[in-house]
């Protein structure tokens, strides 16, 4: 079987603020035998615009996505919410396109398309996992991320209480309804701290930025790490915190 030609949709947030996550996706997918490309013309899926009520501003970004990612066997995004935006909402904005239908969130791609759950990773830390809302309810990734994490050597997985409760990010919700968002964040942090985990993992840097921003403000010592970085980590080349 020839190596699948995979387009990496890094998402604007990860490209700009969390490049280590996108580098981890490249490393991980190449290790799993994919031919990974990063089309330089990509920018943003328009989710923030769309969700805040700016549909007309989001529309050209859907068109751009369809054009930039045409012709790949699969497009992989390290984000459930951007992946959901593309697969579920872009067709409504721009009409159907292969690029939309072939877009996967990372764990879906590895488990469903590549058919792998043990990616050969090594991560000797106590980790708890927060299933982000859009990966869970929009894309229906179910327990795929957990199956991947359970196969990671050295990883001590702690179950997160009230895991499926929203962390309170919600894009511009975090700013427009900052008080309510913070109240939700407070409860999420309490659950995270109760697990005794040193690392909070999720498949979305947006939610991780939110929860991590709170954990850092309170100097809890709990670090947030994207699922891709845990799965990319190996004994030969273990994960290291970005400076």
């Amino acid at each position: 079987m020839p190596a699948p030609r995979v387009g990496l949709f890094a998402t604007c947030l990860t490209d700009t603020f969390f490049p280590s996550t996108a580098r981890a996706v490249v490393r991980l997918l190449e290790r799993l035998g994919c031919d990974v490309h990063f089309p330089m013309d990509q920018t943003c899926c328009g989710q923030m615009h769309y969700n805040t009520g700016y549909r007309d501003e989001a529309r050209p970004l859907a068109a751009k996505y369809a054009q930039v990612f045409a012709g790949f066997d699969a497009i992989v995004a390290p984000s459930g919410s951007c992946g959901g935006m593309v697969r579920e909402i872009h067709p409504e904005l721009h009409g159907t396109s292969d690029a939309f239908a072939r877009t996967y969130e990372l764990s879906e791609f590895i488990v469903d398309v590549l058919g792998v759950t043990d990616v050969g990773a090594y991560f000797p830390h106590r980790v708890t996992y927060h299933p982000t809302c859009h990966s869970l309810r929009m894309l229906g990734v179910g327990d795929k991320p957990l199956r991947l994490l359970r196969a990671v050597r050295g990883l001590d997985l702690a179950e997160l209480p009230e895991a499926e409760s929203c962390c309170g990010f919600g894009g511009t919700f975090a700013v427009k309804n900052a008080d309510t968002s913070t109240a939700m964040l407070g409860d999420k942090m309490r659950c995270v701290l109760n697990t005794g985990a040193e690392v909070l993992c999720a498949g979305d840097n947006s939610c991780l930025m939110h929860i991590g921003g709170g954990l850092s403000r309170l100097r809890t010592g709990v670090r947030t790490v994207h699922l891709a970085e845990i799965l990319a980590s190996t004994e030969e080349e273990p994960w290291a915190p970005t400076p």
Partner: protein
Amino acid sequence: MGTNPVTWLGSPVFPKAARAALADTQLRRNLRKATHTIRDKRSKAVAELPDWEELRQAGEAIKDDVLSNLDTYLERIEAAVTARGGVVHWARDAREANEIVLRLAREAGTDEVVKVKSMATAEIGLNEALEAGGIRAVETDLAELIVQLGHDRPSHILVPAIHRNRAEIREIFRREMAEKPASDEPRDLAEAARRHLRRKFLSARVAVSGANFGVADTGSIVVVESEGNGRMCLTLPEVLITVMGIEKLVPSWQDLEVFLQLLPRSSTAERMNPYTSVWTGVTPGDGPQQFHLVLLDNGRTDALADQVGRQALRCIRCSACLNVCPVYERTGGQAYGSVYPGPIGAILSPQLVNDMHDKQAASLPYASSLCGACYEVCPVRINIPEVLVHLRAEAVEAKGRTPESVGMAALSWIFADARRYENAQKVGSLARHLAPSGRISSLPWPGSKWTSARDVPAPPAESFRMWWRRNRG
């Protein structure tokens, strides 16, 4: 405009009302406890049915049929009710509906009516309107009675006093009832309410109810309840007036099979609710001898005209979406400034008000993180997040040019071109020099709304695309 009593006059916009509610420790605890309990019970009750998804789809399909053929079904129920000795009245808005009920109560020569818990009459502010006309309305549902005696506002569709705990309820009863409750044990509280209400049931000549369902074919009206107070109101008085939203119809008797499974499990997590009352017109010598059905529009036909928004009219008021909502769980219902709180309130109230220049109504579609928990549980599959986003677009349009809209347009312009975007990345990345720790703890407005409680990572020197170009380009 702005006069639909579905939202309470003078309510602050949601973020402001929420801030006050979030600081109420007792409220937070009461709500957390109540919502988590019912949430867990609901998921167990629903898991018992292997065909739950099919039932939801059937519920959606039946309601969609009703909404697309509403005129036909309305004429059908009018004919059926009339043929069975009932009288049908049409009310375009709250004012008309209130006038009809007031007139009917006066004609019956009473100065007091007993009420079955009803969202429609709460929506139109009927109690206040009757009171202004010299007629007392007595709520007979326990939670509704607590709200009424507490001179309070409801905060939940099913349990309007969900924000109150036992101790608070006992205080209210002590203050307002002739016979005080013995303790704050649920049994004593219920007993006190029962004694208080019994006299009212026996003397009332007129009852006012809402309706869970109206069967178009037969003209039968259905009320579903738990306490038996409804059964008393629906059988003892001589005159029964039912106020029903025009969307409450189901085509035929058979369709109830679907909804009488969906509603109790979603609502109270029961397999079947204790009391289901059904009546058809007037039965001589049995029950009320006069029956009036007031069919209420109050903004519903406007909502019906909206292709995306109309799905809110499928709602069967089960309140499952409230119980799972992470926002509702923390702010409670009163923050929504409407008799319809929570996710359904956030999409229904603004549509009934039908004026996005009304700042309070326009703030409601933003009262959600779009987590989707509501859509997942809704027994008639209302895609609440979809409607929220749709209404946000209407709110944006109504507001016209704002700093936000200018910023959004600028961002969209930057994202339209990868070079512009990369240049913006480079400029933004300079902010890292202001934060040697790698974390930014304070930003100017509007970023301050984020940094009030959360750090932001400083952007790294090299974005991913720069790394890719350097290594792979």
